[in-house]
């Protein structure tokens, strides 16, 4: 029987073989632990699927980036013949992917990193000491640095402490700061969100993690009515310096109740700041700025971006200002606007767009509220054409508002209708093909660009 590297989470594509707990020749029974596998989220134990003898170990411990479904060992099960399998080098197989969504930037021609390198840094122009790390690590660094700098910053949420974070973003923070400042909560969003807001009213600076923003709906009243409105209602007396953060939007095959983009919901509310970074560098700089901000900030991450790497400054004074978008690619023919995961979707479509002889401005909004209107309008006045890409439902969406803003501020500059490529107005389906269809895809983005450019 072949033992394959299993997919141990919805987003796992590769894993690391940390340790074998058996050796060749060992007898095992079903359920015995064979090995420790490190996934994108945690270190998990691999159990024996049957009774038998470990015939051959095919992948040495310590091997990293093994694709899901790679054969890692052979188990001789009673009454089963073993076929000889020659040892072969382990490499990431490009065709195997458990991820139903589009390939990410690292797998297409244009990487986020190369674009960020070309972009003028708008956070001081300093020569930073940089290291390539994932968004997950970048967020972790941001939290750690701010917790070191300010005693009033603390972190709470479900599984953020002893479990090391459901998505490993808060890994190691409990050990560094102790249980006074890194708190596991009960599954009690309405209660702990209210508690965190109350603590912020009394002067602390909580980072309130939602395991996913879908669960923030349990606490939407506290976010909208208590956090967002108190400064205004109190005539400036009570501010609420809090960050609500966690993954937002559709991950991979987790169904309707766990796959929704809430950008349109939160950006509707006066008093909330809304951030949606697309890469590790922005995530770190913006999360640090958010923690230091005296207002309530809704910081929307994306699970599929957690593992994506870019160069990130290591200095603790690296900040990206809230309210500044990023022109990640400069062109002349059309302005394509995205944020969070949709920036990746736009980059996936870029080769096809360029093949048409179209050179786009690509804007990564980064901040949804406040919005970098100047950057958007300057680009639109140059290109005269606009495509907006958003993952959220199209009906009464943020993209709708953005297209309103553009037409009212750049009316005389537009040579075409504005096209919005949104998520479809359906609850997220589970089936791989339907999920893919529900989200904005390359073809839709390319078609939109063609349409605003009057190309058939």
């Amino acid at each position: 029987m072949k033992i394959l590297l299993p997919a141990l989470s919805p987003t796992m594509e590769t894993g690391n073989l940390v340790k074998w707990l058996v050796k060749e020749g060992d007898s095992v029974v079903s359920g015995d632990i064979l090995a420790e596998i490190e996934t994108d989220k945690a270190t998990m134990e691999l159990e024996s699927p049957d009774d038998g003898k470990v015939e051959k170990i095919l992948v040495k411990e310590g091997t990293e980036n093994i694709s899901v479904n790679t054969e890692i060992a052979l188990l001789k099960v009673d009454g089963e013949e073993i076929e000889e399998i020659p040892e072969k080098p382990i490499a990431k197989s490009p065709q195997v992917s458990s991820n139903a969504s589009e390939p990410l930037s690292s797998e297409v021609n244009i990487s986020m990193n190369s674009l960020l390198n070309q972009t003028k840094e708008n956070s001081g122009g300093k020569n930073w000491s940089e290291k390539e790390i994932s968004m997950r690590e970048a967020l972790n660094q941001a939290i750690e640095e701010e917790m070191i700098l300010d005693e009033d910053v603390f972190l709470l949420g479900e599984e953020v402490a002893e479990y090391d974070g459901a998505y490993k973003v808060t890994q190691g923070l409990l050990d560094k700061f102790g249980s006074k400042r890194v708190l596991d909560t009960p599954i009690s969003e309405h209660g702990f969100t209210g508690l965190a807001i109350g603590a912020a009213m009394a002067g602390l600076k909580p980072i309130c993690e939602f395991m996913t923003f879908n669960f923030s709906m349990q606490a939407i009243d506290q976010i909208v009515n208590s956090a967002a409105k108190s400064l205004y209602m109190s005539g400036g007396e009570i501010n609420v310096p809090i960050v609500f953060r966690g993954p937002n939007g559709a991950a991979a095959r987790v169904g309707a109740q766990h796959s929704q983009c809430f950008i349109s919901w939160f950006s509707h509310i006066p008093g909330l700041i809304v951030i949606a970074p697309s890469n590790a560098r922005d995530a770190k700089g913006l999360l640090k700025s958010s923690i230091r901000n005296p207002n309530p900030v809704v910081f929307l991450e994306h699970e599929l971006l957690y593992k994506e790497k870019t160069k990130v400054p290591e200095e603790n004074d690296f900040l990206i200002p809230i309210g500044k978008g990023n022109l990640i690619k400069e062109g002349k023919d059309v302005t394509i606007i995205g944020f969070s995961m949709t920036v990746q979707r736009i980059l996936n479509a870029l080769p096809s767009i360029e093949k048409l002889g179209i050179s786009p401005d690509i804007i990564d909004l980064r901040s949804i509220k406040p919005l970098d209107e100047e950057l958007i309008y300057n680009s639109v006045k140059k290109t005269n054409r606009v495509v907006i890409v958003e993952d959220g439902f199209g009906n009464t969406s943020f993209g709708s508002h953005l297209s309103y803003l553009i037409q009212s501020n750049c009316f005389d500059f537009l040579d075409s209708e504005i096209i919005k490529v949104s998520g479809k107005d359906v609850p997220m389906p589970y089936a791989e093909n339907l999920e893919k269809l529900a989200l904005p895809n390359t073809d839709e983005i390319v078609s939109a660009v063609k349409k605003v450019s009057y190309i058939n």
């Binding site: 909560t185 965190a196 602390l204 400064l231 007396e237 009570i238 501010n239 700041i273």
Partner: protein
Amino acid sequence: MNKKNKNNFTNDQLLKFYEKMFLIRKFEEKAAQLYGAGKIGGFCHLYIGQEAVVTGILSSINSEDTVITAYRDHGHILARGVDPKLVMAELTGRKDGISKGKGGSMHMFSKANRFYGGHGIVGAQVPLGVGIGFAHKYRNEKKISRVYLGDGAMSNGQVFEAFNLASLWELPVLFIIENNKYGMGTSIGRSAAGGELYERATVFGIKGEKVDGMNFFNVSESAIRGREYIEKNSKPYIIEMDTYRFRGHSMSDPGLYRTKDEVNKMKEIDPVLMMKETLLNDYNIQEDMIKDIESDIKKQIKDVEKFSLESPLPDLKELYTEVYL
């Protein structure tokens, strides 16, 4: 001569508490009048009938303790020592209101007086108050977060989440249920199953009691017990106040859900009158002293009214300020 009371308040202290109760009563009567005259808009929830609760609790408060409550908050912010002029000017929606006219009756705050509102969503103030208690503990402050809630909030889910968190994390919180028997127009019997309301917190390991909330002295004694328990055990405590509101839920409440007889019967144990009688009969306080206090308050209320009506409306530019800091 000073009759022995368990809290050993001096006559001067007792007169101060009476003054506060009388101030709240007269303030609210004036608010009702101004509402009737169209000078106060929107919702206006009066505290008349419940004065012994906030005053009795006040008698146990260390000056640094914090307070948070729901929307029936006029009495609470006055008890916390905020200038009645600023409170009434908020009710009339004027520039000099405590929230600059942008909050209204239900949304008043004062950090200096450690009063954290003034919240309009039933139950929402309870997790918030637990969070304020969290901040006290986090900073090793010897403060107690005092969290008021009504009988209506006691059937609201987040309140139980807050009880669980307060007990689990051993936070210095005194929960005070003001059970005035009606959540808007629905009587407690039609909204809450099971036994006493405070017992719903005891399942989370929170100790508590129920007391006569119409009697200042009973309230005060229980509040001091609560404070001592929290200080000694570093755990939350809950007190259910048996009280009653003499006016409607808000000014626009026709009150068809209860009989006039019931209201009149409760008025026989009017907390302000009872306090006055106790001071006269049991503490040998001279009637003149009480009369002086009352006439001072009445004069003060006239000034409060004048101030609240003369203060200008907020500048129009205020519309866009204080959305963000």
